[in-house]
Point group: D2
Chain length 429, copies 4
C-alpha cells in the first residue's frame, strides 16, 4: 500500500493553524528549537521486520489482520510508516525469515520508499525445519563443534545477505545459556562462544569506501534460558567485543536487564570505552516485555538519551549515523503499525528533550555539587512539551503532523486486511 | 507403556544392602523416621497433563521424542511415573486439551494405574480454533459480556468434565490483565471478573458424600500481560476468594511472584485465614521460569513446607488430602518424565525435612527470641540427608528405590519414541 | 524565620509577564484549566517533621546546616515552605521526637502559619533512652506481652498528643518482622500484632463534630527486617484494617514495595474496597530510597494520581480531605527544604495532569479495547506542560510563582545557618 | 578472654562416640572424605573487625552487651572464634576504626591467637570528626581534587598501616555515586575515580619475598547512593582493575547485586579472566542485607563454591591462599560471635560440598547435554550431610566439634558482658 502524498498535504493543511500556534509558542519557550528540528529530521530509527506482525507469548498469540505475508509486504509496511513520519527510514531484516529472492528488486523497492537496510539479524535461537542440527543446547556455545559450525556458517550467510542488500552491520543475539545449575561449564561456554564469534568476525567484509561493517554483540539477562545466559550482561558483551576487535560493539536492548538496572550509566560507560554499537528500543516493567518505547518509563528513556547525546558529543560522534538505532518490540494487543508510530514518536520526544538540556549549566551544577539544580535542569526539559518541534521536523521532511491520526483516518489497517486477509500471520512469527 | 513390577523388584533387590545401611543410619540419626516414612507414603503430588511434553518459550520450542499424543497416552505416562515413585497418584487435566471422549474408559484406565483426577484446569488464555469470540483482551474481565459469558460457560463445562471424572476442584488461572497503562479500568476489571467468577462458583456441584468441590483462584504477578494482571497477587486472590464464598480458595504457584517475595509468609497467612487451597510447584530464578521444583532455591522450598506442615497441623488439616498438591512446570531442555521424577523427589525431600523440624524446640527458641537457635533448628534438618527415608517410603509403597536410575536403565524414553515417534508434540502444546 | 510577603509580591511581579504568557497558552491548550487551578489551590500535602533535617543511611549521615533544633523550628520551616508554595499547609509529627511542651502555644504557632496537624506517627522501631523494654525483637508482635503493652501504651499516648493538637489520624508503621528464617512464627506474630492493634484502635477518640479519627496501617516489604515484615504488603495491611474496623485504613508508601510492583493497581483496589487511607510520597529505584517525589519515575507518579482521581471521583470522595497526603522522604545530598519544594511541585504536576485526563474518552477507548488510544490519552496529558497551571494556583493562593528560585534568591539556608548554626542535627534524627 | 584448651578437649571427648559414628558413615558414603578434611583444615576465613559488634540500620541499632571496646578486644574476639573453630585465622581491619597504637604489641597479640592480618579496609563513606573535607558528594570521584587527594592519602595511609601489620591487600569499597538523575557526569566520575585509584595503586608496596600486595576493587549495585554507584557492577570493577594493572582485582560481595543476579557465573568469568581477587560472604533476600552466610540461599552459596573450586583448579590456584576469603556481615538480632560461627560453618559446608562434586562425571554430563544428570550430580552432594567432615577437620586442627554449642555452654557472652559491660558499643560502629 502506497500513501498518496496528497493525504499528508491535506492532513497537514487542516492542522496548520493549530500547529503553527503551538510551534511559535515553543520555539519561543525553548532555546535552540531550530537546532533540535534539524537534528530530528536527520534522526532515523530502523524498524525490525519481525515487529510488523503480531507477536505473542508462550501462552498464545492473538493475530491481527492484514499482516505482511512476505518480505515485500514488510518493506511496504515500513515504507508506509516512513511516509507518515519520515523517521523510519530503515528496515532491519531477520534471516532466515527475510531472505530476499531477488536482491536487486528488493533494493529497488526499498529505495523507492527511501529505506535503507539496517543491521541484519541472525537466528540461532530456533530450529528451522530444514536444519540438520538442533540449537536446543545452544549454538555458538554448543559442546559439539558441528553445531557451532552450523551456527557460524549461518551468521556468515547472514552477513552475505546483508552485503548484498547494502547493510553494514550484523546483530548477534544469542539465546545460548542454561536452564539449570550444573548444565553448563560457564568457562568453556564463554571460550567456545568467543571462538565462534571470532570466526564470524573474520568473515566481516573489509572496510570500503561505501561500507564499514560492524558486529553488534547483544546481551540479555534471562529468557529463553532461565538460569544463565552466556552473553548475559554488558560486562560480558564488552569482554567479547574487546577480545574480538575494533569492529565489534555492544548492543543495548532496554528490556534485557535485571530489575532496577541503571541503563543510562551503562550507556555512558560503553560510549566512553568506544564500545557502544547500537540500541534496541522498547519498554518493560518486568522483563523483556517488549512494549512500546516510552510507554512505561518515559523518564528513563529521556535519561538514556541524555547520556547518548552527551557521550556522542564528547566523542565527536554523528548522532544520526554513528550508532545503530533500532526498535525491538512485540505487539500483543495493539496494531503493530500503530504501536511502531507510537514508539518512534516517544523516541523522538526523548531525543529532542535530551538535545534541549543546557549542558553548560548542567556541568556547572555538577561541579558545584548542586544536586537540586542538576535535577531541575533535567526535569525542566522533560516537563517541556516538545511535541510541536517533533511535528515540525516531520512536516518539513514531508511527513504528517499527526501520523497516528492520519493512519486511522485513512483506515490503513482495513485496507491491509482487504488486501492481505484477516487471518494472516507475518512470516517468521 | 506399562512397567513390569519385576523390574522394580530387581532394581530394589540390587540396591537393597546399600539402602538398608543408609536407612539404618538415618533412622538412628533423626527422630521420628518411621513417622516421616508413613507420611511420605500418603503424600501424592498431581502431575499436570501439559507437563508430559516439551514446553517452550516464545522464542521457540525444541521437541523431544515420544511425547504423548492423546489423553490416554498422558495417563499412561503419569501411570508410569506413579509406578516408579508411588507418589504421583493423580493427574490434573487441562480443558480443552484433554477432553475425554469416553469418560468411563478413561476413568478405568486411570484407575488401573492407581491414579485419581486432581483439579481440572480451564483455559481462557488462548483462542481455540473453533471459538467464536477472542480472549485477546481478556476473558472473565472482558468489557464485552458475550466474551465473559463464553469464558464462564467454558469454565462450567470444565467443571462438568471434572465431575464426570471424579475430580473435586476447578483451578482458574486467568491471564487477564493489561499490557499498557490506561488500557484497563482496574476497578471495573475487578468487578467484572468477580461477577464472572460468581457465576462459575454458582455452578460448582453441591457437597455430597463423595465430593466436596473447591474453586482455586490462582494469582500471577506478570506474564502474559506485562503491565497489570487482574488477579495479580495473593491479596487480590484472597479478596476474590473471600467474596466468592467458602468453596473458593487461593492457589499459590511458586513462580508467580515479584522478585524476592517471601512466599512462605504468604502461605502462613493464607493457611491462617483458611483460604489456602492448593499449590503449583516449580522453581524459578527470574519469573515464571517453570523449572524443576527445588532446582534453584531448595531452601525456600523447605521453608514453604515448614509453614505448610506447621499451619496445617495448627488447623487439624490432613496433609495428604486437605490441600491440592500439583506440579506446574515446563520442560525446555530435559526429558519431561525425568524432570517430573526430579521434581517429585525434591518436593518429598522438602516435606520430609519439614516433618522433622522439632516444633517444640522451635517454639521455645522463638519465645526466647533465640534467633540463632531457631535458625539452627531449621538448618539442622535441611542439612540432614533424608533421601533414605524418601526411598524407603517409595519402597514400601511398591516403587523404586531410585526411580530416575530405573527409568534410564529401562530406556523408557527410547521405548516411547519407538511407540509414538520422534517428532510428536504433546496435545495441547 | 518568617517570609516577608513583599518578597513574594516582588518575585511574582518580576515574572508576571512571562507567567501570563505561558498561562494563557496553556489555558487555551488544555480544557478545564480553571477547574484544575481551583483543585490545586485546595490540595495540601503534609510535611513530615523528620524530613526537615538531613537524613542518612546506615553508612553515615552528612548533616547540612541550619536544621531545626526544636518542634517550634520545625513548624517554622514548614510555615516557610507553605508561605512559598501555599500547598504545604500541614505538618505530620513524630512522637517522641516532637512532643510539644506547650500545646496551646504550638497550636497557635502552627495556626499563625496556616498549618494544620496531619496524622501523628508513633515510633516503636527504635529504643528511646528512657524506655524500660526493648523493641529489638519487635513491638506490637513481640512474644512478651509487656513489650507489646509498652508499644500499645506508646501508640495511645501518640493519639492523645494528636488529639491535643487537633490531628485526626494515627499512622502506625511497624518495623516488626524477622531477619532469619525460623525466627518468627508468622501466624502468631500476625495474631499478636492484630490483638495489639485492636487495643490501639479501641483508644481512638469517638467521632465528633470536629474530628473523625482514622488509624493508618502502613505496610512495607523489607527493611529494617530483612527476611519478613509482619505488615509486609497491601494484602496484609488490608487484612489488619478489615479486621480492625471501619476507622482502620491502609497507608501506601511508594517506596515500600517489591521490585516492579504495580502500585497504581493496588491504589485502585484499595480505593474500591474503601480501605485506602493515605499516602506517603517519595521516589525510589531500588528499595525504600526515600528520594524526592517524581525524581525517578514521574510517569508512575502520574499513573498513581490517575487512579486516585478516578477512584475518588467514583466514590464521591473529596480530593483535598478524604485521603491523607503526606511526603515521606529522606535528604542525604540535598537541602531538605529545597527537596521538599521539589517534591510538592512534582506531586502537584502529577495531580494536575491526572485531573486533565479525558475520562469519558478514556472509558470509551477502554470499552472499545482501543489500547493505542487509551495510551495516547494518558500520554497526551503527561506530555503537556502543566507547570503554568500549578504556578497560577500558587500565585492565586498567595505563594510564589517559582518557590525554589525565591528560596535561593532569599538565601534562606544561609539565614537559617546564621540563626541555628552550621552543625545542627534536627531533633529525632 | 582466652579459651582454656581443656574446655575443647572435654567438649570433644563428650561427643567423641557420636562424632566417630557419623564420620565413619560419611567417610564411607562420600569419596575423598580425607581429601576434603585436609582441604578444610587449610581453609581460613577472615573475620572483619566491624562484625564483632552489633550492626544496625538507618532506623536504629539495638546493641548487645560485651562488645569489644578496642582493637585489642576485637583481636581477642576473633582469637576466641579461631580457638573454637580453627577456621577464622585472620582478621580484616578497618581504618580509621582500628588504627593500632602499638603495632608490635598488636602483631604479637594476634600471633598469640594464631591470627594473620587479612586485607585492610579504607573508609571514605563517612566523615570522621577531624576530617577537613567532606565525602558527602563522594571521595575518589569528587569534583574537587582536594577531596580526592584527601581520600587518596587516606587509602595510602591504610596501606601503610597494613604493611606494618603484615597485611597484603587493600580493599577499596567506594560508596561514591549519585542519588538523583543529573547529579553526576558518569563519564567524568569514572575518569576521576580511575585517576584516584591509579595514585593509590602506585603506592602499593613492591613485591617482596614476604609479601605480594593486591588491591581489591569492590563493586556494589546500590546503597548508600540510590541512583548510581560509580563502581556499580562487576563489569565496572573489572574495567577499573584492568586499567589499573596486574595487582588490581575485583572483589565480590554476595549482597552487592541487583535482584536475581547469577553471581556464580560472574565468579566463573572473573576467575577465567584472572581478575577475581576476593570474596565478602554474607546472605541476603532484598539488598545488602548482610545476613549470616548461607541463611537465606544456601544452594547459591554452594553453586558459587562449585565455580570457585572448578575455576581455581583450572588455573592451578591454591584454594587457601590465592583468593581473599572474608565475611562481611552485620548482626542486628543475633550475638555477633554466634552469628560468625554460623557463617563460617555455612561457608565450610559449601566448600566441602563443592570439593565433593564429581567433576569428571559432571563434564561428561555437560559434554552429553545431559542436563538431568548434571543437576543430579550437584544436588547429590548438596543433599549430602558433610557436617561430620567439617567437624572432623575442626577436631584435627584443635577446635571444637560443635563450636556454637561450646560457646553457649561456656557462657562466653556473659563473661564478656561482665568484663566489658552491657552497654558497650564496638568501636567504629
Amino acid at each position: 500500500m502506497l500513501l498518496n502524498p496528497q493525504y499528508i498535504a491535506d492532513h497537514n493543511q487542516l492542522r496548520s493553524d493549530s500547529h503553527r500556534s503551538k510551534l511559535s509558542y515553543w520555539a519561543n519557550e525553548v532555546e535552540k528549537a531550530e537546532f533540535v528540528i534539524q537534528k530530528l529530521i536527520d534522526f532515523q530509527i530502523a524498524i525490525p521486520s519481525w515487529a510488523l506482525g503480531t507477536g505473542g507469548t508462550r501462552f498464545g498469540r492473538f493475530s491481527g489482520g492484514g499482516e505482511p505475508r512476505s518480505l515485500e509486504e514488510k518493506i511496504d509496511d515500513v515504507g508506509l510508516l516512513h511516509a507518515l513520519n519520515r523517521s523510519s527510514g530503515a528496515i532491519s531484516l531477520h534471516i532466515p525469515w527475510d531472505i530476499p529472492k531477488d536482491v536487486a528488486a528488493i533494493r529497488q523497492q526499498a529505495g523507492s520508499h527511501g529505506l535503507a537496510f539496517d543491521a541484519v539479524n541472525s537466528n540461532t535461537f530456533q530450529d528451522q525445519s530444514d536444519q540438520p542440527l538442533s540449537y536446543k543446547f545452544g549454538s555458538l556455545q554448543h559442546v559439539d563443534k558441528a553445531v557451532r559450525q552450523q551456527a557460524i556458517d549461518h551468521n556468515i550467510e547472514v552477513i552475505r545477505h546483508g552485503e548484498a542488500l547494502g547493510s553494514q552491520a550484523l546483530t548477534v543475539w544469542l539465546s545460548d545459556g542454561s536452564c539449570f545449575p550444573g548444565q553448563l561449564n560457564f568457562r568453556k561456554a564463554f571460550e567456545r562462544t568467543l571462538e565462534s564469534l571470532h570466526e564470524i568476525y573474520a568473515a566481516l567484509p573489509p572496510d570500503s569506501d561505501t561500507a564499514r561493517w560492524k558486529m553488534f554483540v547483544e546481551y540479555k539477562a534471562f529468557e529463553p534460558n532461565f538460569y544463565s545466559m552466556t552473553v548475559g550482561d554488558w560486562g560480558s558483551s564488552f569482554l567479547y567485543a574487546s577480545k574480538l576487535g575494533p569492529k565489534a560493539y555492544t548492543l543495548v536492548d532496554l528490556g534485557h536487564h535485571l530489575p532496577n538496572a541503571n541503563i543510562e550509566q551503562i550507556v555512558a560507560i560503553l560510549l566512553q570505552e568506544g564500545k557502544l554499537g547500537g540500541f534496541h528500543f522498547n519498554d518493560s516493567k518486568y522483563g523483556d516485555d517488549d512494549l512500546t518505547a516510552g510507554s512505561i518509563k518515559p523518564y528513563q528513556l529521556f535519561l538514556i538519551f541524555n547520556e547518548l547525546v552527551d557521550g556522542m558529543d564528547a566523542h565527536g560522534m554523528n548522532h544520526a549515523t554513528d550508532l545503530g538505532w533500532m526498535i525491538d518490540a512485540s505487539h500483543n494487543v495493539k496494531d503493530p503499525l500503530e504501536d511502531l508510530l507510537q514508539s518512534v514518536e516517544a523516541i523522538q520526544i526523548a531525543y529532542a528533550q535530551a538535545l534541549l538540556v543546557d549542558r553548560v549549566a548542567l556541568e556547572e551544577a555538577r561541579e558545584a555539587n548542586d544536586v537540586v539544580q542538576a535535577q531541575e535542569l533535567l526535569q525542566d526539559v522533560f516537563r517541556s512539551d516538545v511535541r510541536p518541534l517533533v511535528a515540525e521536523a516531520r512536516r518539513r521532511a514531508g511527513g504528517a503532523l499527526d501520523p497516528l491520526a492520519l493512519f486511522r483516518q485513512l483506515n490503513v489497517r482495513d485496507s491491509l486486511i482487504r488486501e492481505r486477509g484477516a487471518k494472516t500471520v507475518a512470516t517468521g512469527l
